[in-house]
């Protein structure tokens, strides 16, 4: 009966313009947006929802080890205060929820507001602009609900289950789960609204010709903030728990502190600072909602209604290459293929929003990890020259180079409007080697400034010998890592379809984590002890030799067919038909 009524209502709404518009905007937010038909990072609704739900689920499962009563007993932990133990984890879930939801809002930035394509398709139809406005608003509200629910669904069930495993009480599970759900859902909504308000504000105050450029930087800053927020989960819970007296000003800057405090308040475990912070949640969300709605309305009025008055696209200032750069280019990029494609890759990296966004995220992570390493290096009131020789300080260029090399390698896989790659398909020889080009792009993007900063810093702090040795190791390691990540690379960056999820992708991910620990952690540890006796640095030579030989050997043993330039990532079939009868 109810199903039938719901079906009839759905059919009725589908036949009404407003319902149809809401449906259209929901689809465009999830599956397409922006003024171009570029394929970019369009992953599809199912995959997006799955990816959103994964982090919360995985983290909850990994926590079984911490809360299992048997394991606690084996570790000798008796009379454990479960709620106290769960505090940092709850903070982590709140931060994760904010980061994931915020990242989705940043990713779908262009699709949240109606754009030129919507205007071309809808404005000439007999639909009032306020109907389009309301339909898009409703679609956004729906998106917030879906994202908040999806990103937190797994953690809302699994985390309370894990925490209450040692309690044996259904009531404890339900109470804990309800409070946790309130905290993570509100933080999700807050995060989305905050990004939405920033976007709306930019649309409301900026002239259209500046909007695109400024919004790229704004998105970058939001990504860096979200990464920073995620990284605070290792520090803030402990600091917040120890606060005596009123709430410190730094806690006001992190809304995650407000929501975790709200959870503590609802469980009657809040200290005075937490009680103060918890009071900010409801007014914060209410004000943000009102603000977001107002700037959305102004932005809509300024940009969508008047889109016909706004010229399409922006022009780029063209400056001829200075002769010194031309000479350098001729020296580094040997073939016309390398020169032509290098410029294409460089310009795509600078101008394509999807690529810039991913790189900004990686750069933000590098920045946060580097800052943490720097802070640890100065722990214990060390002087600058003393701190410079700690493994933490020495690891900074390795952390940065590792993440940027990996980031660039990942970004190369993201296509940039595949329909435009016909020019390369038509012109390029399939035997053309893309690996040297990709290597030059990576090294040219990272090495010059990394080399200068590292050398200059260590020359000033520790003198020429240490500066040369450390810089040499950083450069060598960067080159070797670039070689490793480009083994069997046979595509022109951005021109090939997005690789499909492969069975060994998880193995690659785990290898990456281990690789990072060895590359950035172990090397810096070794350097820290060896730089005082420079001859000991020679021990790194065999390691470098092995790291060079393995990719070289793999490249040499690649069969000819696997060297050919590709423009489409095809899946390997699990079962191959031999067709012996044919």
């Amino acid at each position: 009966m109810i199903r039938e009524i719901a079906r009839q209502e759905w059919e009725y709404q589908r036949d009404r313009p407003f319902g149809r518009l809401v449906q259209l905007f929901v689809a465009r937010i999830f599956r397409g947006g922006g003024d171009t038909d570029a394929e970019g990072l369009d992953l599809g609704v199912g995959l997006v929802l799955t990816l959103l739900a994964l982090p919360g689920g995985f983290v909850s499962i990994f926590l079984f080890d911490k809360y299992g009563s048997l394991l606690q007993w084996l570790r000798g932990q008796t009379n454990v205060d479960t709620l106290l133990m769960a505090f940092p984890d709850e903070y982590f879930f709140i931060v994760l929820s904010m980061t994931v939801t915020g990242a989705i809002a940043v990713w779908r930035w262009d699709a949240i507001f109606p754009d030129r394509r919507d205007h071309m398709n809808l404005a000439h139809l007999p639909v009032a602009t306020r109907t389009i406005f309301s339909a898009n608003l409703l679609a956004i509200v729906f998106l917030v609900g879906v994202v908040a629910f999806d990103a937190n669904a797994a953690s809302c069930v699994l985390f309370p289950m894990v925490v209450s495993a040692s309690q044996g009480s259904l009531l404890f599970f339900l109470k804990f789960g309800a409070v946790h759900a309130v905290g993570v859902l509100l933080s999700s909504v807050f995060s989305f609204l905050a990004v939405f308000a920033i976007l709306g504000l930019l649309m409301a105050i900026l002239p259209p010709r500046f909007l695109r450029r400024v919004s790229a930087y704004a998105r970058g800053l939001v990504v860096v903030y979200l990464v920073t927020l995620l990284c605070t989960s290792f520090v803030i819970p402990e600091l917040l728990r120890r606060v005596k007296g009123p709430a410190p000003s730094w806690a006001l800057l992190f809304p995650s502190c407000w929501f975790v405090s709200l959870c503590q308040l609802l469980r009657l475990r809040a200290n005075p600072a937490m009680a103060e912070l918890a009071k900010l949640c409801v007014p914060g969300i209410t004000l943000l909602t009102l603000f977001a709605f107002c700037v959305y309305a102004i932005g809509y009025r300024r940009h969508f209604v008047q889109i016909s008055e706004i010229g399409e696209g922006t022009s780029v200032v063209h400056a001829p290459l200075p002769w010194r750069w031309s000479a350098l280019e001729e020296l580094v990029l040997r073939t016309p293929f390398q020169r032509g494609c290098f410029r294409f890759v460089g310009k795509t990296l600078r101008r394509s929003e999807a690529h810039r966004l991913v790189l900004t995220g990686v750069a933000g992570l590098a920045l946060v990890l580097a800052s943490q390493a720097l802070m640890r290096a100065f722990e214990g009131m060390k002087s600058a020259p003393q701190a410079a020789m700690t493994s933490e300080a020495l690891s900074i260029p390795f952390v940065v180079s590792f993440l940027l090399i990996m980031g660039l390698r990942i970004v190369f896989e993201i296509p940039s409007d595949l329909r435009a790659n016909w020019i390369f398909q038509l012109m390029l020889d399939p035997d053309q080697e893309c690996e040297p080009l990709a290597r030059r792009v990576i090294l040219a993007s990272i090495l010059p400034w990394l080399l200068v900063i590292t050398f200059a810093a260590y020359l000033y702090l520790k003198g020429p010998v240490v500066a040369v040795l450390h810089t040499l190791v950083v450069v060598t390691w960067s080159c070797l890592l670039t070689n490793v990540v480009l083994v069997r690379f046979r595509k022109l960056p951005f021109t090939c379809s997005l690789p499909v999820f492969k069975q060994h992708s998880i193995v690659i991910l785990i290898s990456l984590c281990f690789g990072f620990l060895i590359y950035a952690g172990s090397t810096a540890e070794f350097e820290s002890s060896a730089l005082s006796q420079p001859t000991r640095m020679l021990f790194l030579l065999p390691v470098a030799g092995v790291a060079w030989y393995i990719p070289h050997y793999m490249g040499k043993n690649t069969i000819d067919i696997e060297r050919k330039l590709i423009f489409e990532e095809t899946t390997t079939r699990t079962v191959e038909l031999l067709r012996l009868s044919e």
């Binding site: 000439h124 016909s308 008055e309």
Partner: protein, 254 residues
Amino acid sequence: MLEAVQLTKRYSSLPAVQDLSFRLQPGQVLGCLGPNGSGKSTTVKMLTGLLEPSRGVVRFNGRTIQEDLASYRMHLGYVPEEAHLYPYLTGWEYLEMVGTLRGMSRDRMYLKIDSMLQLFSLHVARHASIGTYSKGMRQRILLIAAIMHDPDIFIFDEPLSGLDVTSALIFKNLVQTLGRSGKLVFYCSHVLEVVEKVCTDVLILRKGVVIAHDSVTNVGKILGESLENTFLHLVDDVDTMNVARDIVEVMKAA
């Protein structure tokens, strides 16, 4: 009757169209010609109500269209210059959405969509996403979306772009048939031959100003030759043969 009265549009004080006036009677097919940047698209946008004129008005049956834009658009069928469609919708879904937004009843809409898709040879691909369509297929979807609600006014902005020969021929005959059946057609194009063949009247724009407006036969007679020669004489001061020769010379230069 559709009437443009002294339409003027300025973009930050630069005039795109100046004092454009014409009347479009039922049964009339008015072709709009002009080189790039002459103000054709701005004119089309003002006629569709997408752009508000800086001065002047557009009247439909004696009423200014801005008075009740939604009801004016019920009578309007518009094919824009560029086929910016939603790539994730199928052809059927897109037409269904347009029909719903136009307030068509479901049965009538489905019947029309089905028949139109058959007639425009898109029926086989109706459930494929528009992202996989060729330019011509997208253009045909736009044409169906513009005509399926049986409007009184048709505004076509470069409608033949990307169409194959058969579809283009069908479309040219369609425009003539629409004109004969008493509809108002405003047809913007670069292709002189098509305008010469399908339009009853022609309006030539240059730098936003009307430089000729009469029946196709009369405009063609200005130089006593074809419409093409008249157009080149009125609009372009360049010697096309010389330019072509120069291009080849630059191409061959070492």
